[in-house]
Symmetry: C2
Subunit: 407 residues, 2 copies
């Protein structure tokens, strides 16, 4: 008799965004004439940069002719893309990362979800609260937690991110092995300084722990003093893996391309206490369970690093950041406390009531979709997240509707 992986049965209800989608669909069904504006899920709305489109087309044309057709590519990604990344995203900022430390994938969701497979099921995991649900759910599936009780999974160390610590969690009081961090943060939009990030790197070194650093939103940083990469911090190469994505920086949510950086020195340990480097383990996983990203998509991603591509991505990001500024200004005017917007496409708003209640109110009275903070964890209760990913016109209209709904 085949038994299932019973850890799946511990998972709470459905995945946050599916849940939201269902409520929105029900509302739309009941009010087919209502024009709903979505500031919920962090999904981009503007077209791909023209440089990416041109490169995409050129690569599709290559696939149309036997002599230039490409079959299986390297599982780790093509050298042209890995080299462009190493040069532009890291070396140009003084972070020593080489092309062969970069693994191209079809999404940071996949990579942040899959990375935990490399580690012992006994690993003590520290996860921020509020948090992107993928970090949490994938560790539940892998059996690193107990049951769900009182709004939290037993056996995990939650890192509270609240107004009291300016939404940057403090070091844990108990020893942990695997630490998830995300800055600029999803969902709060908060940022971490180099000095604060250094305390985490030092903690990881002292405790032989590993930091999983999600930098999917680094392109939104405007404050020049903030780190774009954890590898700007001394010592991070030994204790940190970094995740990046073109989803938000170049509008690739529907095109699918991302990458993960695993420096050669980065290590964990076997049960005899011997150092085991993570790079060959991930390489083995990548080669065994993945077959590389679509060739034309990798060419489209490469174009992000051309002069036109850089300028076009910058303009995209600026547009979203201006939306974030408008949202922040409106929220302030309505006397809500908030964080984010300055260096992130998200505004995290203390809504002075239950998150889902506020979500339903905004949906029903304003026809605006937000993300209920409670969906990101216990510390998110009483908050909602508004996303800047929409057209200027829609953002302005949504803010006007929110003003009226709250009047």
């Amino acid at each position: 008799m085949l038994k299932i992986n019973e850890h799946y049965l511990k998972l709470q209800a459905s995945y946050l965004f599916s849940d939201i989608a269902k409520r929105v669909a029900a509302f739309q069904h009941a009010h087919p004439d209502k024009n709903i504006i979505r500031l919920g899920i962090g999904d981009v709305t503007k077209a791909l940069p023209p440089a990416c489109i041109a490169a995409f087309h050129r690569a599709v044309d290559e696939m149309a002719v036997d002599s230039s057709f490409r079959g299986y590519g390297p599982e780790q990604g093509y050298a042209f893309l890995r080299e462009a990344i190493a040069q532009h995203d890291f070396q140009a900022r003084g972070a020593e990362i080489s092309a062969d430390e970069i693994f191209i994938s079809d999404g940071a969701k996949c990579d942040t979800g899959n990375i935990q497979e490399l580690f012992s099921s006994e690993a003590r995991v520290a996860i921020p609260d509020p948090v992107y649900p993928v970090y949490l759910d994938t560790n539940v599936m892998a059996g690193r937690t107990g049951a769900f009780a009182d709004g939290r999974y037993q056996g995990l160390v939650y890192l509270d991110s609240t107004a009291e610590n300016n939404y940057v969690p403090k070091l844990p009081n108990e020893p942990v092995d695997l630490i998830y961090l995300c800055f600029p943060n999803n969902p709060t939009g908060s940022t971490i300084s180099k000095a604060e990030l250094k305390t985490w790197v030092d903690y990881a070194k002292a405790n032989k722990a590993l930091i999983l650093f999600d930098a999917a939103y680094e392109a939104f940083i405007r404050d020049e003093s903030l780190p774009h990469s954890i590898y700007e911090i001394e010592g991070a190469r030994e204790v940190a893996i970094e995740f990046r994505s073109y989803s938000k920086s170049a509008g690739f949510t529907g095109t699918r391309c991302a990458y993960t950086v695993i420096p050669k020195e980065c290590a964990a340990y076997d049960s005899a206490g011997n150092k085991q480097f993570i790079h060959p383990l991930w390489n083995r996983r990548h080669c065994t369970k993945f077959n590389g990203v679509s060739y034309p998509v990798q060419r489209a991603a490469e174009a992000v690093y051309s002069d036109e591509g850089k300028a076009q991505c910058k303009a995209l990001i600026s547009g979203y950041l201006e939306n974030a500024d408008l949202i922040a200004a409106a929220v302030k005017e309505l006397s809500f406390d908030y964080i984010g917007a300055a260096n992130a496409p998200y505004v995290w708003i203390r809504c002075k009531r239950d998150s889902w209640e506020f979500f339903d109110m905004l949906l029903n009275k304003a026809g605006v979709v937000c993300t209920p903070g409670a969906g990101f964890g216990k510390c998110g209760q009483g908050y909602i997240r508004l996303s800047a990913f929409n057209s200027r016109e829609n953002v302005v209209k949504a803010l006007e509707r929110i003003r009226q709904a709250l009047a």
Copy 2:
């Protein structure tokens, strides 16, 4: 101290095809002027069908304009593709599969690798020998095996596929829970009849086991009596998951699109013995660890089902099958025993000596890359696989060189 998943340390050397690539690179480095012909890895060489190219371009153009731009799609895949699959690949053949039982992914390698996560780490796994290494390695990583000894992982049930059983394994003598089957077979090219497949479905029903049926090569079937899908067999909906891919049927190895079918009735059990349906478990995994396939790629795959697309794919397949016929004829002429070619792009050849020795001989004397059978398992020792995936010209040239090398 973070510990690794030590099951990874049980994995043998490097992944088969990386291993081959290294030997070929070393040979090419030593003989930079030699023109090597690759009949090793099953990678297609002919351009994408024009219908797919046209659809691909159109979808890229949609991504260039805000009003038609698509961000995150459904994790399970777009309805336009799932519906085309249900209709053309299943319902048209009398197999009752609906669109919402189909999950689009970026590769059958990923799906066949990831599916085991849904099941208990105690599951008793039956794996054919010879076999596509992904089935094996992913179960090793998940801890369902003991150490590697004498050419095999302890704790697995190996299903010998040899000349004695015409390369279709017999039912196991001991109870198993999870059964991997692949027909037309990779690497042997052997096929299974409906009557034989029915014995496996009946076994699975009687033992509450599950069949993971890899049908990546179904498009190569010429014998009308053979099943294209396991769902052509009565009762299979309750006990079988099927994997399909556009890699070989439409030349998508570098474009990346595949799908997995999980019928609603398909179930495993929890430790209390209660039936647990697999569809919602896989849906949860897909939504948590995957973000859908690139939109333009899904449009390119949809075009496979247009009238032009069907005709073009058929022509592609016919070209490769004619190559397979040429290889089979040459091999027969050289007095080797073989199977395959008739309904598959592979020819499995008994080479009368050590597989890797024959591999090295073919590489060095003929400049031809094959795949050593031993890389697919113990039963593959003494065999090599030749693939029909190359241009006619290269296949003819390779066969001539092999004739001379063996003369």
